[in-house]
Protein backbone atom coordinates (compact mmCIF):
# COMPACT_ATOMS: atom_id res chain seq x y z
CA UNK A 1 0.00 0.00 0.00
CA UNK A 2 1.07 3.66 -0.31
CA UNK A 3 1.32 6.26 -3.04
CA UNK A 4 1.20 4.60 -6.44
CA UNK A 5 1.15 7.73 -8.60
CA UNK A 6 1.03 11.49 -8.63
CA UNK A 7 -0.51 13.71 -11.27
CA UNK A 8 -0.07 17.35 -12.09
CA UNK A 9 -3.78 17.90 -12.77
CA UNK A 10 -4.66 21.45 -13.83
CA UNK A 11 -8.20 22.64 -13.20
CA UNK A 12 -9.41 25.17 -15.79
CA UNK A 13 -13.17 24.61 -15.92
CA UNK A 14 -12.91 24.92 -19.69
CA UNK A 15 -11.75 21.31 -19.77
CA UNK A 16 -15.00 20.06 -18.26
CA UNK A 17 -16.97 22.46 -20.43
CA UNK A 18 -15.23 21.19 -23.55
CA UNK A 19 -15.99 17.59 -22.68
CA UNK A 20 -19.77 18.01 -22.24
CA UNK A 21 -20.20 15.50 -19.40
CA UNK A 22 -23.72 14.95 -18.02
CA UNK A 23 -22.77 16.56 -14.72
CA UNK A 24 -22.11 19.94 -16.30
CA UNK A 25 -25.04 22.07 -17.39
CA UNK A 26 -23.48 24.32 -20.08
CA UNK A 27 -22.80 22.63 -23.42
CA UNK A 28 -19.99 23.32 -25.87
CA UNK A 29 -18.71 22.51 -29.29
CA UNK A 30 -15.58 21.07 -27.71
CA UNK A 31 -12.29 22.87 -27.29
CA UNK A 32 -8.97 22.32 -25.52
CA UNK A 33 -8.80 18.79 -26.93
CA UNK A 34 -5.05 18.41 -26.43
CA UNK A 35 -5.39 18.80 -22.69
CA UNK A 36 -8.57 16.76 -22.48
CA UNK A 37 -7.05 13.91 -24.45
CA UNK A 38 -4.01 14.10 -22.20
CA UNK A 39 -6.33 13.47 -19.29
CA UNK A 40 -7.84 10.47 -21.10
CA UNK A 41 -4.46 8.76 -20.84
CA UNK A 42 -4.45 9.56 -17.13
CA UNK A 43 -7.91 8.06 -16.74
CA UNK A 44 -6.69 4.82 -18.28
CA UNK A 45 -3.79 4.83 -15.85
CA UNK A 46 -6.00 5.56 -12.86
CA UNK A 47 -8.21 2.61 -13.76
CA UNK A 48 -5.20 0.35 -14.24
CA UNK A 49 -3.68 1.34 -10.90
CA UNK A 50 -6.97 0.69 -9.09
CA UNK A 51 -6.37 3.06 -6.16
CA UNK A 52 -8.38 3.11 -2.96
CA UNK A 53 -8.39 6.88 -2.87
CA UNK A 54 -7.49 10.00 -4.85
CA UNK A 55 -6.20 12.97 -2.89
CA UNK A 56 -6.28 16.48 -4.33
CA UNK A 57 -4.75 19.74 -3.09
CA UNK A 58 -6.57 22.71 -4.61
CA UNK A 59 -5.57 26.40 -4.87
CA UNK A 60 -9.23 27.37 -5.01
CA UNK A 61 -10.07 26.19 -1.54
CA UNK A 62 -8.16 28.92 0.25
CA UNK A 63 -7.92 28.85 4.00
CA UNK A 64 -6.29 31.41 6.21
CA UNK A 65 -5.76 29.50 9.43
CA UNK A 66 -3.97 26.28 8.68
CA UNK A 67 -4.51 23.39 6.30
CA UNK A 68 -8.01 21.95 6.06
CA UNK A 69 -9.22 18.54 4.92
CA UNK A 70 -12.67 17.56 3.72
CA UNK A 71 -14.09 15.26 6.37
CA UNK A 72 -17.72 14.58 5.51
CA UNK A 73 -18.49 11.05 4.24
CA UNK A 74 -20.55 12.27 1.34
CA UNK A 75 -20.65 15.72 -0.23
CA UNK A 76 -23.27 16.59 -2.80
CA UNK A 77 -24.27 19.78 -4.44
CA UNK A 78 -23.96 22.05 -7.39
CA UNK A 79 -20.85 24.08 -7.94
CA UNK A 80 -21.09 27.19 -10.09
CA UNK A 81 -17.75 28.75 -10.96
CA UNK A 82 -17.83 32.39 -9.85
CA UNK A 83 -15.44 33.46 -12.64
CA UNK A 84 -16.77 31.23 -15.42
CA UNK A 85 -20.41 30.53 -14.50
CA UNK A 86 -21.25 30.27 -18.17
CA UNK A 87 -18.85 27.30 -18.48
CA UNK A 88 -19.10 25.40 -15.22
CA UNK A 89 -22.29 24.56 -13.36
CA UNK A 90 -21.49 21.11 -12.11
CA UNK A 91 -23.54 18.69 -10.04
CA UNK A 92 -21.30 16.60 -7.86
CA UNK A 93 -21.69 13.65 -5.54
CA UNK A 94 -18.49 12.48 -3.92
CA UNK A 95 -17.49 9.97 -1.29
CA UNK A 96 -14.81 11.20 1.04
CA UNK A 97 -12.37 8.86 2.72
CA UNK A 98 -12.87 10.32 6.16
CA UNK A 99 -10.65 7.75 7.84
CA UNK A 100 -7.70 8.90 5.75
CA UNK A 101 -8.74 12.53 6.14
CA UNK A 102 -8.70 12.14 9.92
CA UNK A 103 -5.32 10.46 9.76
CA UNK A 104 -3.91 13.31 7.67
CA UNK A 105 -5.32 15.71 10.24
CA UNK A 106 -3.56 13.84 13.07
CA UNK A 107 -0.28 13.51 11.22
CA UNK A 108 -0.40 17.20 10.32
CA UNK A 109 -0.83 18.11 13.97
CA UNK A 110 2.08 15.82 14.85
CA UNK A 111 4.15 17.62 12.21
CA UNK A 112 3.43 20.89 14.01
CA UNK A 113 1.04 22.24 11.44
CA UNK A 114 -2.27 23.96 12.10
CA UNK A 115 -4.94 21.62 10.77
CA UNK A 116 -8.71 21.65 10.58
CA UNK A 117 -11.36 19.19 9.52
CA UNK A 118 -14.21 20.42 7.32
CA UNK A 119 -17.32 18.70 8.68
CA UNK A 120 -20.15 20.86 7.32
CA UNK A 121 -22.40 18.77 5.04
CA UNK A 122 -23.57 21.82 3.08
CA UNK A 123 -20.06 22.97 2.26
CA UNK A 124 -19.68 23.85 -1.40
CA UNK A 125 -16.66 22.10 -2.88
CA UNK A 126 -14.44 24.39 -4.96
CA UNK A 127 -14.16 24.05 -8.71
CA UNK A 128 -10.45 23.33 -8.62
CA UNK A 129 -11.05 20.17 -6.63
CA UNK A 130 -13.99 19.18 -8.81
CA UNK A 131 -12.33 19.75 -12.17
CA UNK A 132 -9.15 17.84 -11.32
CA UNK A 133 -11.08 14.93 -9.85
CA UNK A 134 -13.54 14.83 -12.73
CA UNK A 135 -10.80 14.88 -15.34
CA UNK A 136 -9.00 12.00 -13.60
CA UNK A 137 -12.10 9.96 -12.77
CA UNK A 138 -15.40 11.17 -14.22
CA UNK A 139 -17.25 8.18 -12.79
CA UNK A 140 -16.49 9.35 -9.25
CA UNK A 141 -16.33 5.74 -8.12
CA UNK A 142 -13.14 6.14 -6.10
CA UNK A 143 -13.28 7.87 -2.70
CA UNK A 144 -11.43 11.16 -2.43
CA UNK A 145 -9.72 13.43 0.05
CA UNK A 146 -9.60 17.16 -0.60
CA UNK A 147 -7.04 19.48 0.99
CA UNK A 148 -7.12 23.24 1.12
CA UNK A 149 -4.44 25.67 0.06
CA UNK A 150 -3.32 27.46 3.15
CA UNK A 151 -2.83 31.10 2.38
CA UNK A 152 0.61 31.34 3.99
CA UNK A 153 2.29 31.99 0.61
CA UNK A 154 0.40 35.26 0.49
CA UNK A 155 1.13 36.24 4.08
CA UNK A 156 4.74 35.18 4.39
CA UNK A 157 7.62 34.76 1.99
CA UNK A 158 7.73 31.91 -0.48
CA UNK A 159 10.31 29.95 1.49
CA UNK A 160 8.14 29.77 4.60
CA UNK A 161 5.15 28.86 2.50
CA UNK A 162 6.91 26.07 0.63
CA UNK A 163 8.22 24.73 3.91
CA UNK A 164 4.63 24.46 5.14
CA UNK A 165 3.64 22.52 2.03
CA UNK A 166 6.66 20.26 2.32
CA UNK A 167 5.69 19.35 5.86
CA UNK A 168 2.08 18.82 4.82
CA UNK A 169 3.30 16.48 2.11
CA UNK A 170 5.35 14.50 4.60
CA UNK A 171 2.36 14.26 6.93
CA UNK A 172 0.20 13.11 4.04
CA UNK A 173 2.70 10.39 3.14
CA UNK A 174 2.78 9.09 6.70
CA UNK A 175 -0.99 9.16 6.91
CA UNK A 176 -1.35 7.16 3.72
CA UNK A 177 1.04 4.52 5.03
CA UNK A 178 -0.74 4.32 8.35
CA UNK A 179 -4.11 4.00 6.66
CA UNK A 180 -2.95 1.17 4.43
CA UNK A 181 -4.50 2.89 1.42
CA UNK A 182 -3.34 2.62 -2.16
CA UNK A 183 -3.36 6.30 -3.10
CA UNK A 184 -3.10 8.59 -6.07
CA UNK A 185 -2.20 12.23 -5.54
CA UNK A 186 -3.33 15.16 -7.66
CA UNK A 187 -1.73 18.60 -7.58
CA UNK A 188 -4.49 20.76 -8.96
CA UNK A 189 -2.59 23.65 -10.47
CA UNK A 190 -1.77 25.44 -13.66
CA UNK A 191 1.85 26.42 -14.37
CA UNK A 192 2.30 29.98 -15.70
CA UNK A 193 -0.75 31.94 -14.79
CA UNK A 194 -0.85 35.33 -16.49
CA UNK A 195 -4.11 35.25 -18.42
CA UNK A 196 -6.27 37.29 -20.71
CA UNK A 197 -8.16 40.06 -18.99
CA UNK A 198 -11.14 39.59 -21.28
CA UNK A 199 -12.65 36.50 -22.75
CA UNK A 200 -11.38 36.53 -26.36
CA UNK A 201 -14.72 35.53 -27.88
CA UNK A 202 -17.60 35.89 -25.41
CA UNK A 203 -20.02 34.48 -27.97
CA UNK A 204 -17.98 31.29 -28.36
CA UNK A 205 -15.72 30.62 -25.36
CA UNK A 206 -14.37 27.52 -27.14
CA UNK A 207 -13.10 29.54 -30.09
CA UNK A 208 -9.68 27.92 -30.29
CA UNK A 209 -8.49 30.34 -32.97
CA UNK A 210 -8.21 32.84 -30.11
CA UNK A 211 -6.48 30.53 -27.65
CA UNK A 212 -2.75 30.92 -27.11
CA UNK A 213 -0.19 31.25 -24.37
CA UNK A 214 -0.13 34.69 -22.81
CA UNK A 215 3.50 35.40 -23.70
CA UNK A 216 6.64 33.82 -25.06
CA UNK A 217 8.27 34.35 -21.68
CA UNK A 218 5.55 32.31 -19.99
CA UNK A 219 5.90 29.56 -22.56
CA UNK A 220 9.66 29.36 -22.01
CA UNK A 221 9.19 29.18 -18.27
CA UNK A 222 6.65 26.39 -18.61
CA UNK A 223 8.97 24.41 -20.86
CA UNK A 224 11.86 24.82 -18.48
CA UNK A 225 9.78 23.57 -15.55
CA UNK A 226 8.30 20.70 -17.53
CA UNK A 227 11.72 19.62 -18.73
CA UNK A 228 13.02 19.48 -15.17
CA UNK A 229 10.10 17.26 -14.23
CA UNK A 230 10.62 15.09 -17.32
CA UNK A 231 14.22 14.61 -16.31
CA UNK A 232 13.44 13.84 -12.70
CA UNK A 233 15.38 16.89 -11.49
CA UNK A 234 12.99 17.54 -8.64
CA UNK A 235 15.39 19.30 -6.29
CA UNK A 236 16.42 21.76 -9.00
CA UNK A 237 12.77 22.35 -9.73
CA UNK A 238 12.13 23.26 -6.10
CA UNK A 239 15.03 25.69 -6.18
CA UNK A 240 13.64 27.64 -9.11
CA UNK A 241 9.99 27.61 -8.06
CA UNK A 242 10.17 30.97 -6.23
CA UNK A 243 11.52 32.67 -9.34
CA UNK A 244 8.94 30.87 -11.47
CA UNK A 245 6.21 32.21 -9.20
CA UNK A 246 7.49 35.76 -9.44
CA UNK A 247 8.18 35.91 -13.13
CA UNK A 248 5.32 33.83 -14.50
CA UNK A 249 2.74 34.35 -11.74
CA UNK A 250 2.82 30.57 -11.51
CA UNK A 251 -0.06 28.94 -9.69
CA UNK A 252 2.41 26.58 -8.04
CA UNK A 253 2.56 29.36 -5.45
CA UNK A 254 -0.55 27.90 -3.83
CA UNK A 255 1.60 24.91 -2.83
CA UNK A 256 -0.14 21.99 -4.51
CA UNK A 257 2.89 20.83 -6.50
CA UNK A 258 5.26 21.14 -3.56
CA UNK A 259 2.81 19.22 -1.37
CA UNK A 260 2.60 16.42 -3.89
CA UNK A 261 6.34 16.19 -4.58
CA UNK A 262 7.02 16.11 -0.86
CA UNK A 263 4.41 13.42 -0.29
CA UNK A 264 6.14 11.39 -3.00
CA UNK A 265 9.44 12.09 -1.21
CA UNK A 266 10.79 14.20 -4.07
CA UNK A 267 11.01 11.47 -6.67
CA UNK A 268 13.92 11.49 -9.08
CA UNK A 269 12.15 9.37 -11.63
CA UNK A 270 11.20 11.05 -14.90
CA UNK A 271 7.66 12.35 -15.01
CA UNK A 272 5.60 11.65 -18.11
CA UNK A 273 4.15 14.63 -19.93
CA UNK A 274 0.76 13.64 -21.27
CA UNK A 275 -0.03 17.02 -22.75
CA UNK A 276 0.43 20.76 -22.57
CA UNK A 277 -1.86 23.55 -23.63
CA UNK A 278 -3.06 27.04 -22.85
CA UNK A 279 -6.39 28.05 -21.39
CA UNK A 280 -7.18 31.78 -21.70
CA UNK A 281 -3.46 32.30 -21.86
CA UNK A 282 -2.36 30.24 -18.85
CA UNK A 283 0.05 27.31 -19.32
CA UNK A 284 -1.21 23.88 -18.30
CA UNK A 285 0.59 20.55 -18.23
CA UNK A 286 -0.88 17.16 -17.44
CA UNK A 287 1.92 15.04 -16.02
CA UNK A 288 2.32 11.75 -14.24
CA UNK A 289 4.78 10.20 -11.82
CA UNK A 290 4.28 6.45 -11.83
CA UNK A 291 5.68 5.26 -8.54
CA UNK A 292 4.38 1.73 -8.93
CA UNK A 293 7.01 0.97 -11.54
CA UNK A 294 10.07 2.40 -9.80
CA UNK A 295 9.58 1.76 -6.11
CA UNK A 296 12.13 -0.48 -4.40
CA UNK A 297 11.01 -4.06 -4.08
CA UNK A 298 7.90 -3.37 -6.06
CA UNK A 299 6.32 -1.43 -3.21
CA UNK A 300 5.03 2.09 -3.80
CA UNK A 301 6.24 5.10 -1.78
Amino acid sequence: MGIVAGFLAPHPPHLVYGENPPQNEPKSRGGWEMLRWAYERCRDKVRALAPDVILVHSPHWQTVVGHHVLCVPRLQGRSVDPIFPHLFRYTYDMQVDTHLANTIFEEGIAEGLTMSRMTQPKFRVDYGTLVSLHMLNPNWDIPVVGLSANNSPYYYDDKIAQDEMTRLGAATRRAIHKSGRRAILAASNTLSHFHFSREPNPDLPEDMSREHIHSQAQYEWDMRVIQLMREGRTRELLDILPTFMREAFAEVKAGSLTWMLSAMDFPEIPATLHGYGSVIGTGNAVMEWDLSQYATGGSPI
Partner: protein, 280 residues
Amino acid sequence: MTSHNTRPSSLRAICMLPGMPHLLLSDQPQYQALVRSAQALGQDLIQRGVQRIVYFSTQWLAVLDQLVQGGSEVRGIHVDPSWHEMGEIPFDFQIDRPFAETVAREFTLGGQTTKLIDYCDFPIDTGTIVADRLLQGSSRAWTTMVACNVYSSFEDTRSLGQMLGKCIAGDPRPTAVCCVAGLSGHMFTTPIQLTEDTIRLEQDDTWNRRIIGLLEKGKHAEILGLLDGFAQEARSDMGFKAFALCLGLADGAGIPLPQARCHAYGPIYGTGAAVLSFLC
Protein backbone atom coordinates in the same frame (compact mmCIF):
# COMPACT_ATOMS: atom_id res chain seq x y z
CA MET B 1 -32.31 62.65 -8.90
CA THR B 2 -30.71 65.47 -6.99
CA SER B 3 -32.38 68.78 -7.70
CA HIS B 4 -32.55 72.23 -6.24
CA ASN B 5 -35.95 71.60 -4.73
CA THR B 6 -36.66 69.71 -1.52
CA ARG B 7 -36.94 66.24 -3.06
CA PRO B 8 -34.37 64.00 -1.43
CA SER B 9 -31.78 62.22 -3.52
CA SER B 10 -32.47 58.58 -4.34
CA LEU B 11 -29.04 57.87 -2.91
CA ARG B 12 -30.00 58.00 0.75
CA ALA B 13 -26.89 56.54 2.31
CA ILE B 14 -23.55 54.95 1.69
CA CYS B 15 -22.14 52.68 4.32
CA MET B 16 -19.13 50.51 4.89
CA LEU B 17 -19.48 47.29 6.84
CA PRO B 18 -17.12 44.43 7.61
CA GLY B 19 -18.12 41.07 6.18
CA MET B 20 -16.52 38.45 8.40
CA PRO B 21 -18.83 35.62 9.54
CA HIS B 22 -17.72 36.05 13.16
CA LEU B 23 -20.21 38.89 13.43
CA LEU B 24 -23.10 36.51 12.80
CA LEU B 25 -21.82 33.19 14.03
CA SER B 26 -19.96 34.09 17.20
CA ASP B 27 -21.51 35.41 20.39
CA GLN B 28 -18.25 36.87 21.64
CA PRO B 29 -18.83 40.17 23.45
CA GLN B 30 -16.06 42.03 21.64
CA TYR B 31 -17.94 41.75 18.35
CA GLN B 32 -21.23 43.02 19.72
CA ALA B 33 -20.48 46.72 19.22
CA LEU B 34 -19.92 46.08 15.52
CA VAL B 35 -23.01 43.88 15.33
CA ARG B 36 -25.33 46.22 17.19
CA SER B 37 -24.19 49.28 15.30
CA ALA B 38 -24.69 47.55 11.95
CA GLN B 39 -28.17 46.46 13.01
CA ALA B 40 -29.00 49.95 14.22
CA LEU B 41 -27.75 51.37 10.94
CA GLY B 42 -30.08 48.98 9.15
CA GLN B 43 -32.99 50.30 11.16
CA ASP B 44 -31.95 53.83 10.37
CA LEU B 45 -31.93 53.06 6.67
CA ILE B 46 -35.50 51.79 6.90
CA GLN B 47 -36.53 54.97 8.68
CA ARG B 48 -34.87 56.98 5.93
CA GLY B 49 -37.14 55.23 3.47
CA VAL B 50 -34.50 53.03 1.86
CA GLN B 51 -36.17 50.43 -0.32
CA ARG B 52 -33.10 49.04 -2.10
CA ILE B 53 -29.60 48.15 -1.01
CA VAL B 54 -26.78 47.70 -3.51
CA TYR B 55 -23.84 45.67 -2.22
CA PHE B 56 -20.23 46.04 -3.34
CA SER B 57 -18.17 43.43 -1.56
CA THR B 58 -14.41 42.98 -1.69
CA GLN B 59 -15.09 39.28 -1.25
CA TRP B 60 -17.02 38.98 -4.52
CA LEU B 61 -14.06 38.96 -6.86
CA ALA B 62 -14.35 39.26 -10.61
CA VAL B 63 -11.40 38.49 -12.84
CA LEU B 64 -12.40 38.84 -16.44
CA ASP B 65 -15.47 41.04 -16.56
CA GLN B 66 -17.47 43.35 -14.37
CA LEU B 67 -20.30 41.34 -12.82
CA VAL B 68 -23.72 42.46 -11.64
CA GLN B 69 -26.11 40.15 -9.83
CA GLY B 70 -29.46 39.88 -11.60
CA GLY B 71 -30.61 36.40 -10.57
CA SER B 72 -34.23 35.63 -9.83
CA GLU B 73 -33.59 33.09 -7.08
CA VAL B 74 -30.75 33.99 -4.83
CA ARG B 75 -31.28 31.98 -1.69
CA GLY B 76 -29.70 29.07 0.05
CA ILE B 77 -27.32 28.01 2.78
CA HIS B 78 -23.78 29.33 2.83
CA VAL B 79 -20.70 27.86 4.48
CA ASP B 80 -17.59 30.00 4.42
CA PRO B 81 -14.66 28.05 2.97
CA SER B 82 -12.19 29.31 5.56
CA TRP B 83 -14.46 29.66 8.59
CA HIS B 84 -16.64 26.59 8.00
CA GLU B 85 -16.23 25.54 11.64
CA MET B 86 -18.46 28.46 12.59
CA GLY B 87 -21.45 26.93 10.83
CA GLU B 88 -24.00 27.73 8.16
CA ILE B 89 -25.57 31.04 7.20
CA PRO B 90 -28.94 31.03 5.42
CA PHE B 91 -29.53 33.80 2.91
CA ASP B 92 -32.42 35.01 0.79
CA PHE B 93 -32.09 38.03 -1.49
CA GLN B 94 -34.82 39.75 -3.42
CA ILE B 95 -32.95 40.94 -6.47
CA ASP B 96 -34.07 44.12 -8.24
CA ARG B 97 -33.62 42.73 -11.72
CA PRO B 98 -34.69 45.81 -13.71
CA PHE B 99 -32.27 47.95 -11.74
CA ALA B 100 -29.50 45.39 -12.15
CA GLU B 101 -30.09 45.53 -15.90
CA THR B 102 -29.88 49.31 -15.82
CA VAL B 103 -26.59 49.14 -13.95
CA ALA B 104 -25.16 46.53 -16.30
CA ARG B 105 -26.17 48.65 -19.28
CA GLU B 106 -24.56 51.74 -17.78
CA PHE B 107 -21.35 49.85 -17.06
CA THR B 108 -21.27 48.56 -20.64
CA LEU B 109 -21.82 52.05 -22.04
CA GLY B 110 -19.01 53.19 -19.79
CA GLY B 111 -16.61 50.78 -21.47
CA GLN B 112 -16.73 47.91 -18.97
CA THR B 113 -17.22 44.41 -20.33
CA THR B 114 -20.12 43.51 -18.09
CA LYS B 115 -22.04 40.33 -17.37
CA LEU B 116 -25.42 40.17 -15.70
CA ILE B 117 -25.33 37.08 -13.49
CA ASP B 118 -28.45 34.94 -13.45
CA TYR B 119 -27.49 31.39 -12.54
CA CYS B 120 -29.14 29.19 -10.00
CA ASP B 121 -26.66 28.37 -7.18
CA PHE B 122 -24.22 31.11 -8.20
CA PRO B 123 -22.04 31.49 -5.09
CA ILE B 124 -22.79 34.56 -3.04
CA ASP B 125 -19.80 35.71 -1.04
CA THR B 126 -19.69 35.61 2.74
CA GLY B 127 -19.27 39.36 3.05
CA THR B 128 -22.46 40.24 1.19
CA ILE B 129 -24.46 37.68 3.15
CA VAL B 130 -23.10 38.86 6.51
CA ALA B 131 -23.67 42.52 5.74
CA ASP B 132 -27.18 41.88 4.49
CA ARG B 133 -28.14 39.83 7.54
CA LEU B 134 -26.81 42.55 9.83
CA LEU B 135 -28.50 45.41 8.02
CA GLN B 136 -31.77 43.76 7.16
CA GLY B 137 -32.30 41.00 9.66
CA SER B 138 -35.45 39.35 8.40
CA SER B 139 -36.48 42.30 6.22
CA ARG B 140 -36.11 42.00 2.48
CA ALA B 141 -35.45 45.21 0.67
CA TRP B 142 -34.72 45.00 -3.03
CA THR B 143 -31.06 44.33 -3.60
CA THR B 144 -28.43 43.85 -6.18
CA MET B 145 -24.70 43.25 -6.02
CA VAL B 146 -21.73 44.57 -7.95
CA ALA B 147 -18.49 42.59 -8.01
CA CYS B 148 -15.05 43.90 -7.13
CA ASN B 149 -12.78 43.31 -10.11
CA VAL B 150 -9.36 42.20 -8.95
CA TYR B 151 -7.55 44.02 -11.73
CA SER B 152 -9.46 47.29 -11.54
CA SER B 153 -7.42 50.17 -10.20
CA PHE B 154 -8.59 52.62 -7.56
CA GLU B 155 -9.56 55.02 -10.33
CA ASP B 156 -11.34 52.29 -12.32
CA THR B 157 -13.39 51.52 -9.20
CA ARG B 158 -14.13 55.19 -8.68
CA SER B 159 -15.41 55.35 -12.26
CA LEU B 160 -17.55 52.32 -11.58
CA GLY B 161 -18.95 54.11 -8.56
CA GLN B 162 -19.78 57.14 -10.70
CA MET B 163 -21.72 55.01 -13.12
CA LEU B 164 -23.55 53.31 -10.27
CA GLY B 165 -24.27 56.66 -8.61
CA LYS B 166 -25.69 57.95 -11.86
CA CYS B 167 -28.00 54.95 -12.11
CA ILE B 168 -29.24 55.45 -8.57
CA ALA B 169 -29.77 59.18 -9.09
CA GLY B 170 -31.79 58.48 -12.20
CA ASP B 171 -34.06 55.98 -10.48
CA PRO B 172 -36.84 56.94 -8.08
CA ARG B 173 -36.39 54.08 -5.63
CA PRO B 174 -34.57 55.26 -2.48
CA THR B 175 -31.32 53.36 -2.30
CA ALA B 176 -28.42 52.74 0.02
CA VAL B 177 -25.10 51.37 -1.12
CA CYS B 178 -23.23 49.09 1.24
CA CYS B 179 -19.53 48.56 0.65
CA VAL B 180 -18.54 45.36 2.40
CA ALA B 181 -14.91 45.72 3.34
CA GLY B 182 -12.52 45.72 6.20
CA LEU B 183 -9.80 48.21 6.99
CA SER B 184 -6.37 46.71 7.85
CA GLY B 185 -5.92 43.17 6.64
CA HIS B 186 -3.26 41.44 8.76
CA MET B 187 -5.24 38.47 9.93
CA PHE B 188 -4.00 36.00 12.54
CA THR B 189 -2.86 32.92 10.64
CA THR B 190 -2.77 30.65 13.67
CA PRO B 191 -5.71 29.81 15.94
CA ILE B 192 -6.59 32.38 18.58
CA GLN B 193 -9.10 32.47 21.37
CA LEU B 194 -11.78 34.83 20.11
CA THR B 195 -11.95 36.36 23.57
CA GLU B 196 -8.41 37.57 22.94
CA ASP B 197 -9.07 39.00 19.50
CA THR B 198 -7.21 42.23 18.87
CA ILE B 199 -5.85 44.24 15.96
CA ARG B 200 -2.88 42.12 15.04
CA LEU B 201 -0.31 44.89 14.56
CA GLU B 202 -0.09 48.14 16.44
CA GLN B 203 0.73 49.98 13.22
CA ASP B 204 -2.51 48.65 11.74
CA ASP B 205 -4.51 50.12 14.59
CA THR B 206 -2.74 53.45 14.09
CA TRP B 207 -3.51 53.38 10.40
CA ASN B 208 -7.15 52.42 10.92
CA ARG B 209 -7.79 55.19 13.42
CA ARG B 210 -6.07 57.69 11.18
CA ILE B 211 -8.18 56.75 8.18
CA ILE B 212 -11.39 56.73 10.22
CA GLY B 213 -10.53 60.15 11.61
CA LEU B 214 -9.99 61.54 8.14
CA LEU B 215 -13.24 60.03 6.90
CA GLU B 216 -15.06 61.60 9.83
CA LYS B 217 -13.60 64.99 8.94
CA GLY B 218 -14.33 64.56 5.25
CA LYS B 219 -10.64 64.91 4.38
CA HIS B 220 -10.85 62.73 1.31
CA ALA B 221 -7.95 64.24 -0.57
CA GLU B 222 -5.67 63.46 2.32
CA ILE B 223 -6.82 59.86 2.35
CA LEU B 224 -6.01 59.59 -1.35
CA GLY B 225 -2.45 60.56 -0.58
CA LEU B 226 -2.18 57.84 2.05
CA LEU B 227 -3.55 54.92 0.05
CA ASP B 228 -0.19 53.41 -0.86
CA GLY B 229 1.04 53.52 2.72
CA PHE B 230 -2.22 52.10 4.02
CA ALA B 231 -1.91 49.24 1.56
CA GLN B 232 1.76 48.48 2.10
CA GLU B 233 1.93 48.87 5.85
CA ALA B 234 -1.54 47.82 6.96
CA ARG B 235 -2.53 45.55 4.08
CA SER B 236 -5.74 47.50 3.50
CA ASP B 237 -8.61 45.45 2.17
CA MET B 238 -8.30 45.41 -1.64
CA GLY B 239 -6.32 48.63 -1.54
CA PHE B 240 -9.31 50.40 0.05
CA LYS B 241 -11.27 50.22 -3.21
CA ALA B 242 -14.41 50.49 -1.12
CA PHE B 243 -13.50 54.15 -0.55
CA ALA B 244 -13.02 54.58 -4.30
CA LEU B 245 -16.54 53.34 -4.85
CA CYS B 246 -17.86 55.73 -2.20
CA LEU B 247 -16.18 58.71 -3.88
CA GLY B 248 -17.48 57.67 -7.27
CA LEU B 249 -21.02 57.13 -6.00
CA ALA B 250 -21.22 60.62 -4.65
CA ASP B 251 -19.81 62.05 -7.89
CA GLY B 252 -22.27 60.12 -9.99
CA ALA B 253 -25.21 61.11 -7.83
CA GLY B 254 -24.19 64.73 -8.03
CA ILE B 255 -23.60 65.21 -4.31
CA PRO B 256 -20.49 65.67 -2.22
CA LEU B 257 -19.46 62.63 -0.21
CA PRO B 258 -20.55 63.50 3.32
CA GLN B 259 -18.39 63.26 6.37
CA ALA B 260 -18.52 59.76 7.74
CA ARG B 261 -19.81 58.68 11.06
CA CYS B 262 -17.97 55.79 12.67
CA HIS B 263 -20.49 53.75 14.65
CA ALA B 264 -18.05 51.11 15.85
CA TYR B 265 -14.48 49.99 15.34
CA GLY B 266 -12.78 46.82 16.46
CA PRO B 267 -10.84 43.71 15.54
CA ILE B 268 -12.06 40.63 13.74
CA TYR B 269 -9.45 37.89 13.88
CA GLY B 270 -6.66 40.46 13.77
CA THR B 271 -8.07 42.60 10.98
CA GLY B 272 -9.50 46.07 11.48
CA ALA B 273 -13.25 46.43 11.08
CA ALA B 274 -15.50 49.45 11.25
CA VAL B 275 -19.15 50.29 10.70
CA LEU B 276 -19.21 53.60 8.86
CA SER B 277 -22.02 55.58 7.32
CA PHE B 278 -22.15 58.53 4.96
CA LEU B 279 -25.70 59.77 5.20
CA CYS B 280 -26.73 61.69 2.10
